[in-house]
């Protein structure tokens, strides 16, 4: 096994730890006095964490110049989707026990639930089209479609922000994290565009080419 494979598997194992812990705590009776809320919170925050991790792969790849990192992106994205599914299932089965009318009311009436549901619905097509077959079939449009992950990260953080009562430290930290990641990407794409323009016009200002 190469060192990268070991690295990849350890990331996979680490990402599955919260789910394993929930199962373990179910048997030891350690899901707190309010297990349904605890499971909802744990699956939700893990989904958000992994979603943001997914967005760090490309910047990290640029910074470290290690191209093999790209192989982590789909794994992390699908793990984020796995936790998002658990999060939604907790809401449907444990919180409301298939009370469709109440859930529908909440989706329409409660903005934080609307945001949560939006996030989930944005992630579904991304998970479905994550296979090699779909990447081939969609070609250039695959990249366009998968830009939705940025929207999903934003709606996920708004969803979190809107349920917090007073202690905004965590959602603020997440917002800051994606601002940094977006900033990196924006700067990078500006640079690429300027480079391209420079080439077309035949050696214009070359300030982006230096360094």
């Amino acid at each position: 096994m190469t060192r990268f494979t070991v690295f990849r598997w350890s990331i996979f194992a680490a990402a599955l730890t919260p789910a394993a812990a929930l199962v373990y705590w179910t048997f030891t009776g350690d899901l707190t006095a309010n297990p349904i809320d605890f499971i909802t919170d744990t699956t939700g925050t893990t989904a958000l964490t992994l979603l943001v991790c997914t967005l760090t792969v490309t910047p990290l790849r640029r910074v470290t110049a290690r191209n093999e990192l790209i192989r982590l992106r789909r794994t992390l994205g699908l793990l984020a989707f796995f936790y998002a599914c658990l999060h939604v299932l907790t809401w449907v089965v444990l919180d409301w026990f298939f009370d469709v009318a109440s859930m529908a009311t909440d989706v329409v009436m409660r903005p934080y639930i609307t945001m949560g549901m939006t996030t989930f619905l944005l992630l579904v097509p991304l998970a479905v089209t994550s296979t090699a077959g779909w990447i081939r079939r969609l070609g250039k449009r695959w990249t366009q479609l998968h830009r939705l992950v940025y929207v999903a990260a934003v709606t996920a953080i708004i969803h979190f922000w809107w349920i917090v009562k007073a202690d905004f430290r965590q959602p603020r930290l997440w917002a800051l994290a994606i601002c940094v990641l977006f900033g990196f990407r924006a700067w990078w794409s500006l640079q690429t565009r300027a480079l391209a323009r420079g080439r077309v016009s035949g050696g214009g200002p070359a300030r982006f080419q230096t360094s």
Binding site: T32, A33, I36, D37, W96, T105, P111, Y112, A166, D167
Partner: protein
Amino acid sequence: MLIKNAPDLRYSDVTPKGLYVRRREFLHAAAVAAVGGAAALAPGAGRLRAQGRGAKLPNVKKSQFSTDEKLNSYDDITSYNNYYEFGTDKDDPQRNAHRLVTRPWTIRVDGMVKAPGSYDVESFIKPYALEERIYRLRCVEAWSVVIPWIGFPLADVIKRLEPLPSARYVEFTTLNDAKQMPGVRVPVLDWPYIEGLRMDEAMHPLTILSVGLYGEVLPNQNGAPIRLVVPWKYGFKSIKSIVRIRFTDQQPRTAWAVSNPREYGFFSNVNPTVDHPRWSQATERRLGEFFRRKTLMFNGYGDQVAQLYSGMDLRKFY
């Protein structure tokens, strides 16, 4: 040949005094964690931990105001708390409240009152006969518990303190001490925590000051040494660890109403028909139950308290 003689230890490697002095505290915490961890793994650990630890309170009378609903376990009541002075996670209070020193404890009484002054908590409590009041507690976050409080009517205290006729409200303040309460270092609320009641609410026979639960001295995370319990209002009105009682003619600027006036009002009566702006208040989950229950008007105490609010628009005065 150059022999590099790098010093093995730099001055920055010396353990700071504060750290090694706290070593004992750390070892104690580690031992507790290890024992706790082992207990959690042992079969039936939940039942073991369900036993109380406080000193027994003597001569506690039963009360006609108690509900006969199933009690929540001691473990539920003492491990799942909103007490932001000790942290905003539900298990933070249980983890951090051991730092709170509840004796000696002074309660300052001031404002529009005949006998202002500072009282030691022991002598403050002494004149009153202890009663057990088994009440429902409904949190604004849509969960609820049934708790066997030990306490005495606030009305008896107020009569003894003799407020002036001009006093229309009672304001309560929680301790605000960063040394004992790590949560107040973070400005999630405008510390100190302040709550208040209209005089008729404070004088109502259901309103009590509590000094215990499950027949024992109040655990720190539940608001030791003395707290308010107002069973028909959302839990945050029942202020914990009281250090000051002030009589006033102005409506107190209560902590949550200051933090977000659109979402939290002064009255905050449990009301299934008036939603929190962000979530429904129509149902609640009783800790230990799977299905949600319907939330009752005034948390089921409507027969006793509804007349306090007759003629008031409860949508406006939420």
